[in-house]
């Protein structure tokens, strides 16, 4: 890297952080509120159509934000792996008007309705959570939380927890490779893989615990426990005035729908 490009990297930190899309540049808390409000509204309206509509809305939002290429395949896998199974279980095991008899079980009209509703609700929640993490880098979320007064220690725990998932996966892979090198069977069918994986858990978690102490000392060496008010190299974009209005409006709608349903207005 030339001196000029190091300056370019540095200049990137002189500007508020932008992900290059108005949707992605929403304040993380706004994004969180909007997604939660949409999920709650979809579920509170009842039936499968509102929840499915929320799922579709999330997909459209992902495409508009330029994250369709990563979000859509992921959500499709979730639909096939989770949504379909949930739908089938309900469709086959719910008693009611039999549409297709299959021995001791049967597909029923009520089962299909309940299966669709349940699968769509779960998928709206899964879709929302996935979309949130697709849109919001964890670092941005913690910065937004720190701006709201959350302590750096709490935001560290949040960030480190997510990083720990990656680190544990990497350590597990190393231990599995070491086992393979020693001639232990780690490949094969599901049972073989599970049998190979469980003994790996103890060393993986023990090494993670051992590393925690060293990391705590390393953080201490970086003045992490300093009582001085911490500053931040990365700066989030200024929250636009309409963002809280949008979040509050959607929140009010969600609460209105819940209250309306409770009072039997619709």
């Amino acid at each position: 890297m030339t001196v000029t490009s190091l300056q370019e990297v540095a200049d990137g930190y002189r500007q508020p952080r932008s992900l290059g899309n108005p949707i992605l540049d929403l304040n993380p808390i706004t994004t969180l509120c909007v997604i939660v409000a949409l999920i709650v509204t979809g579920i509170a309206l009842g039936g499968w159509v509102p929840s499915l509509a929320v799922c579709l809305l999330f997909m459209v939002a992902a495409v508009v934000a330029g994250r369709g290429r990563t979000y859509l395949p992921l959500i499709l896998k979730l639909w096939l792996g989770v949504g379909l199974i949930l739908f089938l279980l309900r469709a086959l095991l719910t008693p009611g008007h039999v549409l297709i008899p299959l021995g001791r079980i049967a597909v029923t009209t009520e089962g299909i309705e309940q299966g669709l509703a349940f699968a769509c609700v779960v998928m709206a929640i899964c879709g929302g959570v996935t979309l949130f993490f697709e849109f919001v880098p964890m670092r941005h979320l913690t910065l937004a939380l720190e701006r709201l007064g959350v302590s750096p220690q709490a935001s560290y725990v949040l960030l480190a927890s997510f990083q720990a998932i990656t680190d544990l996966g990497a350590t597990a892979k190393v231990v599995l490779e070491a086992q393979t090198a020693r001639g232990v069977e780690t490949e094969g069918n599901v049972f073989m893989r599970v049998r190979a994986f469980f003994p790996v858990l103890a060393p993986v978690f023990l090494s993670a615990m051992a590393a925690t102490e060293e990391r705590a000392i390393a953080l201490d060496a970086r003045a992490f426990n300093s009582s001085t008010r911490h500053t931040s190299l990365v700066e989030l974009r200024r929250t636009r005035r309409w963002e809280p209005v949008l979040a509050v409006a959607l929140g009010v709608i969600a609460v209105g729908v819940i209250v309306g349903r409770a009072l039997g207005w619709f």
């Binding site: 890297m1 960030l159 990083q163 003045a223 300093s226 190299l233």
Partner: protein, 291 residues
């Protein structure tokens, strides 16, 4: 000014049966590179922890004797203040990065953020350190995806950025290949040139010989030898404490044993080159002799 003064210091870790330090008395001057060597479990890391204040504030245990850091009793130091006054780098490159920053640039800035430094000053300082260590190519990389050697450089950069006058370095090359080890020692040499006080625990005795001003040998929690690098590394008792002299010193010993001693015993490669060159010139001038 004295960097650290220890008088009859004993320390036993909580839950340990035997003390890690037994009556350590030692004075380390400021502005020098102090090498600490010794076998495993000889107390080197505990001594580093004591100088850094980790012992006994983080690693609890029973501490007796008198420990003075930069003229102030250890007990009088606020742990946060000591952490920023004395930087430290450890042996494991994988646990020294915060794990929560997306780029090396941000990782180096982490300590400065914690000290409440303003953004523009952070940027200026990080650029300076990156250029100083020649790690421009790493600036935009994810620290979690670097090799051990690269992580160790980033760990050094992060500590250097905080501009501590004293740096405690515990076996920085123990998990690195020779090339990465040399690179780390170049960084340490650069810090020494800047006038930093450095306490370095290291097993690679040849590197200690090259860079250290003083050497202390610890053995079973006690100071076995201490003095200038030359005094300690040429001391005939060195091997009895499990420390092998530098290769060039061994070579000189063997030449002496064969009846052809060099004019003095070298401890660094540069000295050895000079002395062997001198010998060769003598022998060429006076005709080759057989031993």
């Amino acid at each position: 000014m004295v960097l650290a003064e220890l008088q009859d210091v004993h320390f036993t870790y909580a839950y340990a049966d035997t003390p890690a330090l037994k009556g350590v008395t030692l004075t380390l001057e400021q502005g020098m590179l102090h090498g600490i060597v010794g076998l495993n479990s000889s107390g080197k890391t505990t001594l580093c922890g004591l100088l850094r204040g980790i012992v006994p504030s983080f690693h609890h245990g029973e501490l007796t004797g008198r420990t003075t850091i930069l003229g102030r009793e250890l007990a009088d130091w606020n742990p946060d203040e000591l952490a920023t006054t004395i930087g430290c780098v450890f042996d494991n490159p994988f646990t020294q990065i915060s794990g929560i920053r997306d780029t090396v640039f941000e990782e180096i800035a982490f300590g400065l953020e914690n000290l409440g430094v303003a953004r523009e000053d952070i940027i200026t300082r990080v650029i300076q350190v990156i250029e100083q260590l020649g790690i421009e190519a790493l600036a935009e990389k994810n620290p979690n995806e670097l090799s051990g050697g690269q992580r160790q450089k980033v760990a050094f950069a992060s500590i250097i950025a905080m501009d501590s006058d004293v740096i405690v370095i515990d076996e920085p090359t123990s998990q690195l290949d020779p090339e990465a080890s040399e690179a780390v020692f170049e960084i340490i040499a650069g810090l020494k040139k800047l006038g930093k006080s450095i306490v370095l625990v290291e097993h690679k005795i040849d590197l200690v010989a090259e860079y250290a001003d003083t050497v202390t040998v610890l053995h079973e929690g006690r100071v076995a030898l201490t003095g200038t690098t030359r005094e300690v590394l040429t001391d005939p008792r060195l091997r009895s404490f499990g420390v092998t002299p530098p290769q060039v010193t061994e070579l000189a010993e063997r030449l002496a044993a064969s009846g052809r001693p060099l004019s003095r015993v070298p401890v660094t490669r540069a000295e050895a080159v000079e002395l062997i060159g001198e010998r060769m010139r003598e022998e060429v001038g006076g005709g080759y002799r057989t031993a």
